[in-house]
């Protein structure tokens, strides 16, 4: 029997960056696999990243990679439960 299609895990990561280090952080985020979009935004956060992975473990690894980037002050990760 064929296995059912695996659902992709999606998440948004809201990031606060140290002053003057946005470009440097952006360049490093763009190199991380599973990052499907990255945007510089105004307001409470500085950068929003969208991640898409096949497993929760992979999601954990990718968020860890982002945490390790120099210049990032704080991150808030939100898993997408459903999209309309």
């Amino acid at each position: 029997m064929s296995s059912p299609d695996k659902e992709i895990m999606k998440a948004y990561m809201l990031i606060n960056v140290a002053l003057g280090r946005t470009n440097e952080v952006l360049a490093k985020i763009k190199l991380i696999p599973s990052v499907t979009s990255v945007a510089v935004i105004t307001g409470e956060y500085d950068i929003i990243v969208r991640l898409e992975t096949l497993t929760m473990n992979e999601m954990y690894n990718r968020t860890q990679e982002i945490h390790l980037i120099d210049g990032i002050i704080e991150t808030t990760t939100s898993i997408i439960q459903k999209e309309f």
């Binding site: 029997m1 952006l26 190199l31 696999p33 935004i41 939100s78 459903k82 999209e83 309309f84």
Partner: protein, 467 residues
């Protein structure tokens, strides 16, 4: 360590794929209009050499349906073992256990581990979502049949127009649909046009007027008012309504939450379009017209088949682009056909000078300059609109002990996507507007008034990169 081999930011990003799809759709459109223009004046003519537009309409629809079904079947050819394996497995699940069938499936090993091919069907090179012919759901059928109705009206008028109208005039005038779409958006939003919209509308209107001027022909520069009224009042209006229903079809989802692929949308739209075009043409067909129909069917088959095939490919690319971005932008980019129409008309004149007539005489250069300026005005006016889009992200919390309705959020004009999140905020609402000021109405007047939302935080995207 980051694996850079699986780096997601491909050379061809979603944004560029979107632009290429829409532009390609526009260029192919101008080629098919040129082929139709030739077929109309050279082949589908009666004994007096006069074009029979109703015969052309019926013939195009009949040949179009034949060619499109064949094309879709060709696109359905499996290019990997995965669909064959899935098909046999499915058959096996319906039948009692039988040795021959067991043998058959054991011969074909599961392709999951052995194959690394990206696509399963030939058609996926054009439309990656294509999985063969699918029956739309009831709701999709409603939108597709309405699309087909207005596309049928549009096509019927198209065949009347290309009988007399020059390619270089028809293509810019057909772009007027963008103006109607903007006006439609303004009425729905109950708002006044912003500076960019006013500027673009003026550029498009002036561009169309300039492109339509030709004082080198026999009519002494007078406008053909009947054709101009047909193109502005009927052709572009039906075109605008068709675009709205196509967008509705693209957004419709089945019970599994999947939307119909572009190839199937086109196939079913064409089916309804053909019915309505033929129904509109039949009252004008007399017995003599049927004779012209049978006499010209054979010689017209090849050019009509090529034209309909190009229409099909252009429409698939168009619908794919429509699923990736706003309809006004898709139309903006595909308006490149306005400019492409000029070299195609020149090329057509070199090959068939008697059917692709160009301005003649000492003042021909003035007419060409006016057409060139007109085409550039229409194109830049339309592109100007697409460049002025703003994306706003709204983070929101949902109040406890209260029912909440995603559809109420989705129905707000400009809302593109609603993501339900875990963590600090419950929702991320993605909104697209022409200017930041345009975000005022959906955010302040509509979203903030929804009783189940609280703590709304708006953030404008300054720059975005997509994989």
């Amino acid at each position: 360590m980051v694996d850079t081999t699986t780096r997601p930011f491909r050379k061809l990003t979603r944004k560029y794929t979107f632009i290429i799809l829409a532009v390609l759709s526009g260029i192919i459109s101008s080629i098919w209009v040129a082929i139709d223009s030739y077929t109309s004046s050279a082949i589908i003519v009666d004994s007096d050499g006069i074009t029979n537009e109703y015969v052309f309409a019926v013939q195009s629809m009949v040949i179009g349906i034949i060619v499109s079904i064949l094309f879709v079947l060709v696109l359905w050819i499996p290019i990997s073992r995965k669909p064959i394996y899935n098909f046999i497995t499915k058959i096996k699940s319906y039948l009692p256990k039988d040795k021959t069938i067991t043998q058959l499936t054991s011969d074909i090993t599961s392709p999951k581990k052995t194959e690394k091919r990206r696509f399963s069907f030939l058609g996926q090179y054009i439309d990656p979502q294509y999985q063969g012919i699918k029956i739309p759901t009831k709701k999709m059928f409603l939108w597709i049949s309405l699309s087909g109705l207005f596309s049928g009206i549009n096509t019927f008028i198209y065949f009347i127009l290309i009988k007399d109208m020059s390619l270089a005039v028809f293509l810019p005038a057909a772009q007027f649909v963008v103006v109607y779409l903007i006006i439609g958006d303004l009425i729905v939003d109950k708002t006044l046009p912003c500076a960019v919209e006013i500027q673009s509308i003026i550029m498009i209107v002036l561009g169309v007027i300039l492109a339509a001027i030709d004082f080198t022909t026999g009519n002494g520069g007078a406008f053909d008012w009947t054709n101009l009224l047909l193109i502005f009042l009927v052709f572009n209006t039906s075109s605008a309504i068709y675009v709205i229903f196509q967008k509705k079809t693209v957004e419709s989802k089945d019970t599994k939450g999947k939307s119909l692929d572009s190839t199937n949308i086109r196939l079913w739209t064409l089916f309804f379009m053909a019915i309505f075009t033929i129904l509109l043409s039949l009252p004008f067909m007399r017995s003599y017209d049927w004779k012209v129909f049978s006499d010209t069917f054979k010689p017209a088959f090849l050019p009509i088949a090529i034209s309909m095939l190009l229409v099909y490919i252009a429409r698939i690319l168009y619908v794919r682009a429509l699923s990736m971005g706003k309809m006004s932008i898709v139309n903006s980019l595909s308006s490149v056909s306005v400019i492409a129409g000029i070299p195609i008309a020149l090329f057509g004149n070199i090959l068939f000078p008697e059917y692709f007539t160009l301005p003649t005489g000492d003042a021909a250069w003035v007419v060409w300059s006016l057409r060139g300026i007109g085409a550039i005005l229409v194109f830049t006016g339309i592109v100007g609109l697409s460049m002025s889009e703003v994306k706003i992200l709204i983070l929101a919390k949902v109040r406890g002990s209260m029912e909440w309705d995603i559809e109420k959020i989705k129905s707000i004009s400009g809302v593109e996507k609603v993501s339900v999140l875990t963590g600090k905020y419950d929702l991320l609402i993605t909104l697209r507007t022409r200017t930041i000021g345009r975000g005022y109405q959906p955010i302040v007047e509509q979203l903030e008034k929804l009783p189940f939302l609280s703590d709304l935080k708006s953030q404008t995207i300054l720059k975005e990169w997509n994989a």
